[in-house]
Amino acid sequence: MTLADRLLLFVSITGIVLLAYVTWQPSAYADRVEIISPSGRKIVSLRHDKTFFVTGALGKSELRIKGERIRFVTSPCQTKFCIHQGWASHSGDLRVCLPNKVSLRLLGSSSQFDSLTF
């Protein structure tokens, strides 16, 4: 290996470590949630604890907001993946129940997201 090789390895390892440090910071906490269901989308604040129902394609999904976190509590779907996903608290987090067509997207004050699907 030449000097340039060693330098390249040193710089790239340092760069990767720094990048990992920067990108693996936990994201900011969310303060509201966007709920998308067959009946449309609505934004709910996470400031107030409550338990409520959202009507999906199969039936009613029960959602619970507690301590600025939100989760699925009961769901009419078969797999219950949505319930097992647990609490969501960070901006950008997603909780989705595909069978019931209900999805939650947490929004923070300083976040921007977009996603393309195809």
Partner: protein, 168 residues
């Protein structure tokens, strides 16, 4: 009057090398992968060897011919897979071109291969981020991808050295 294109010695050599690279590319695509999108990039060994022996222009020909012919044979021509492949190839060729400008002893095959692997994955990542999945969460994957590229780049560089040592 028919126009006849006479291939020169260099054209034939490039065609052979591109065919070799394409074969490796296709064999490699049938290997199972640990992570989707991660390939060892053995075809790039040919690019590095061509770069060291015949210069940058030849390496560009071999690499771009390999991407095009490989995608035609695999049926991914002009698909997102092809676009990612092409972007990676262009990025690594540009970086290799710059790396060859270095005075003195410069980079050995290991350095060249590592630089190519890192720029390859960076280019692909940026295209994927801009075009397919513009989600902030994708950035968390970049250190992992770069780390793998680093390891595979060094590995390919070592293979390059072994191959070059056996070449006449």
């Amino acid at each position: 009057m028919a126009l006849v294109l006479q291939p020169g010695r260099e054209d034939i050599r490039l065609a052979w090398l591109a065919a070799l690279a394409t074969s490796i590319h296709i064999l490699e695509s049938s290997l199972p992968t640990l992570l989707p999108g991660i390939k060892p990039g053995f075809a790039n060994i040919i690019t590095i060897i061509v770069l060291l022996r015949f210069g940058w222009r030849s390496a560009v020909w071999v690499s771009l011919l390999r991407v095009t012919a490989g995608s035609l044979l695999l049926g991914t021509f002009l698909s997102p897979t092809f676009m990612l492949s092409l972007t990676g190839a262009i990025c690594s060729l540009l970086v290799l071109g710059l790396a060859r400008q270095l005075p003195g002893r410069g980079f050995s095959a290991i350095g060249l291969s590592t630089a190519a692997a890192l720029s390859h994955i960076s280019g692909q990542f940026l295209l994927a981020y801009v075009w397919f999945i513009p989600h902030q969460g994708l950035w968390g994957l970049l250190p992992v991808l770069l780390c793998l590229a680093l390891i595979l780049g060094i590995m390919n560089g070592i293979i390059c050295n072994k191959v070059i040592a056996r070449l006449p």
